[in-house]
Amino acid sequence: MMTDPQRHTAAEMLAAISARQLKDGQVVFAGVGVPLLAATLAQRLHCPGLTILFEGGVIGAFVEPGKLPPSTNDQRCTKRANMVLGSADVLLLLQRGYVDVGFIGGAQIDQFGNLNSSFIGDPERPRTRLPGTGGGNDIASLTNIIVAMKHERRRFVEHVDFITSPGFIRGGRSRAESGLPTGGIYRVVTELAVFSFDDEARRMKILALNPGVTREEVADNTGFDLVAEEPIGVTEPLMEQELATLRMLDPERLFIS
C-alpha cells in the first residue's frame, strides 16, 4: 500500500529510497545514521541476504529494532554479527575488493560527486572545522558508493571547499589518474530525487524525481547545472511496509525525525 506524502518525514523518505538502491546478496559498508538505518531496512525487506559491514569492525550485522547504534563503533553494531575484527582490518576489506557498495552520508557535494566533511571556507583559516572523514575517504576511494543526504543549495555546490571523500574529482578520467582505479560514486539520494553520473564527463544527472517533486524544485535547490537526460523517471511513493519497518527500527526517531 502507498502512503500519503503528508504522513512521513523527509528523513523517512530518504531512508526508504536509499534502501531501494541496495540489492540482495550484496556486501555493503554502511556509515552511521541514515545509511545504517537504510541498510537495515533493506535487510528486513527486499534484501534478507544483505551483508552489512561497519567500520568499528563488524561483518554481517543484524541491528536490533529500537537499539540503533549511536555510531558504527558501539557494541550495538555487533548484535548477531558473523564476525568482529579490528577497524583497520574491516577497512582493508574495501581495499581487497570484498565490498560491493559503500553507503555514506554527506554534508556537502559537488557536480562530480566529491564530498566535503572537513572544512567550510579556506582550510588554512577555516570558518568552520567540520568533524572530518572518518572512514568516508577510504570507502569512497575503494568501492562504489551511494550517498544519502539532505538536498539544499548550500550543500549541492559546483565545487566543494575541500575534497574529503573523492567522487570523480575533476570529472573525466581524473579519478583513475589520481591513483584510484576502482570504485566511484554510483548514486546520490536526497529527499527530492535520485542522481547518477554520466559515463564520460562524470557529472551528476537526475535519474528519477521523488514523487511530487518537479525538476524546477531540484534545480532551485542545486548550486550547479544538472545534466538532464530525457526521459527522467519518477520514483515509486513510499510504501506502508517501508514506513512501518522504519518506525519499528527507530522508535525513538533518532534518525528519521
Binding site: P123, T133, I163, G179
Partner: protein
C-alpha cells in the same frame, strides 16, 4: 622508578639529533629504527607485577609526550586515565586516535593536549559538531591533523610492525592528502601503480582500557578491538586500565582471548567503569544523560562551560569513584543494564 630512567627518550629536542632524525621530527616523527629497538630493549619485559594506582600511572606520561589513545569514538575510551592526566595538569601532549569524541574535547579544553591526529573529531553522531574542537582549532590554540580512518590504522600497524611506513590505496586524489605532506605518493616498483605511503606512528605512551587483564598485563578484550593491538605493539610504553584484574591462571585458561601480551605493558590500573561516561563492551553502554548535559554545557560556551565542567567533574572529585557518584547511580545502573544486554538473545 625504572620507567623514568629513559625519560630523556621522550624529548626529541636533545642535542644529538641527526639530519635523518631532524627530517623525521618534521615528518610527524617517524622514529628511527635504532631508537625504536633501543626503546624496547631498555624496557623490563620480564613477567612481573605492574599494578599501580591511577595517580602513579599518570607519571608514565611526561609533558610533551606523544600519546596513542585506545578504543574508538565512545567505546572503551581510557577516560579514567585521561581524567587523571588532566588532574595532574600535564602539558603539550600530542595525541592520536582512530576516531575522537568527547575525550578530545577534554584533552583540548583542559589545555593538556594541543595536537590530535585522527580521522574524525566531534562529540558523537547524535550531537554533531564539537564546539570545543572548533574553538581550539579555529583560533589556532590546538591542531587537528586529519587522516583517513584506514590510514590511522595502518600508521599504528606500521609502528607495531617496526617498519617506517605502509602503502595504502586511499586518500589519493583528495584534499585530505594535500594537507598531509607527511604521507608520500610512490610508484609501485612491481606494478607501476600509484600508492600512498603513510608514516608509522610509534607513540611514546599508549593508554588502553580493557575488560580484564592480570597483574602482569596480559589483556583480554571483549567485542570490538579497534586498533588497540597495533597501538599496544607500536607504543614505547603501555598503560592499561582495566574493569577488573584477574588471576594469571584465569588468563591461561583462555589464552586465545588474550589480545595484548604482558611484555608490551608497563602499568596496570584497576578502574571499574574506567570508560565512563563512554561505553565498555558487555559491561556498560554510554551514559547519555551525562553526555547530553555535558554537550549542552560546553557547546553553549566552549571555554567557560568547559571550565565549569572540569571544575565540577574532573578537578572537584576526590577520586574516580566520587566522579562516578556525580554521574549518579540511576544512570550507571541503566548503562550497565544496557551494556550487559548485548549478551541477551
Amino acid at each position: 622508578m625504572g620507567f623514568l630512567a629513559s625519560a630523556g627518550y621522550y624529548a626529541y629536542g636533545s642535542n644529538d639529533r641527526t639530519a635523518a632524525e631532524e627530517m623525521g621530527a618534521v615528518a610527524n616523527s617517524v622514529v628511527p629504527y635504532a631508537r625504536l629497538r633501543e626503546g624496547v630493549s631498555s624496557r623490563d619485559r620480564s613477567l612481573r607485577e605492574k599494578i599501580v594506582s591511577l595517580e602513579q600511572a599518570a607519571s608514565f606520561v611526561p609533558d610533551g609526550a606523544s600519546v596513542g589513545i585506545g578504543g574508538s569514538t565512545m567505546s572503551r575510551t581510557p577516560m579514567a586515565m585521561i581524567w587523571q592526566l588532566i588532574r595532574a595538569r600535564k602539558k603539550n601532549l600530542s595525541c592520536a586516535r582512530g576516531i575522537v569524541s568527547t575525550d578530545g574535547d577534554l584533552l583540548f579544553g583542559s589545555g593538556i593536549a594541543d595536537h590530535m591526529a585522527t580521522s574524525w573529531f566531534a562529540q558523537g553522531i547524535l550531537w554533531g559538531l564539537s564546539k570545543v574542537m572548533r574553538h581550539h582549532v579555529e583560533t589556532g590554540s590546538a591542531r587537528y591533523d586529519e587522516w583517513s580512518h584506514m590510514a590511522m590504522g595502518m600508521r599504528f600497524r606500521a609502528g607495531g610492525m617496526g617498519v617506517p611506513f605502509l602503502p595504502i590505496r586511499s586518500m589519493l586524489g583528495s584534499d585530505v592528502l594535500r594537507l598531509r605532506p607527511e604521507a608520500k605518493e610512490m610508484t609501485c616498483p612491481f606494478t607501476g601503480e600509484t600508492l600512498l605511503l603513510v608514516p608509522a606512528l610509534n607513540p611514546d605512551v599508549a593508554l588502553i582500557h580493557v575488560q580484564r587483564c592480570d597483574a602482569y598485563g596480559n589483556a583480554q578484550m571483549d567485542g570490538l578491538q579497534f586498533m588497540d593491538i597495533d597501538l599496544a605493539l607500536a607504543a614505547n610504553r603501555v598503560v592499561l586500565t582495566t574493569e577488573r584484574v584477574v588471576s594469571n591462571d584465569q588468563i591461561r585458561r583462555e589464552p586465545d582471548q588474550t589480545k595484548i601480551p604482558f611484555f608490551c605493558v608497563d602499568a596496570v590500573v584497576e578502574v571499574p567503569y574506567g570508560s565512563a561516561p563512554h561505553e565498555c563492551y558487555g559491561v556498560y553502554e554510554p551514559m547519555t544523560k551525562h553526555l547530553d548535559a555535558y554537550v549542552a554545557q560546553v557547546n553553549k560556551s566552549p571555554v567557560a562551560g568547559m571550565r565549569a565542567y572540569l571544575d565540577r567533574y574532573v578537578y572537584g572529585p576526590a577520586s574516580w569513584n566520587e566522579f562516578l557518584s556525580l554521574i549518579g547511580m540511576d544512570e550507571i545502573l541503566q548503562a550497565s543494564r544496557l551494556g550487559r544486554s548485548i549478551h541477551d538473545d
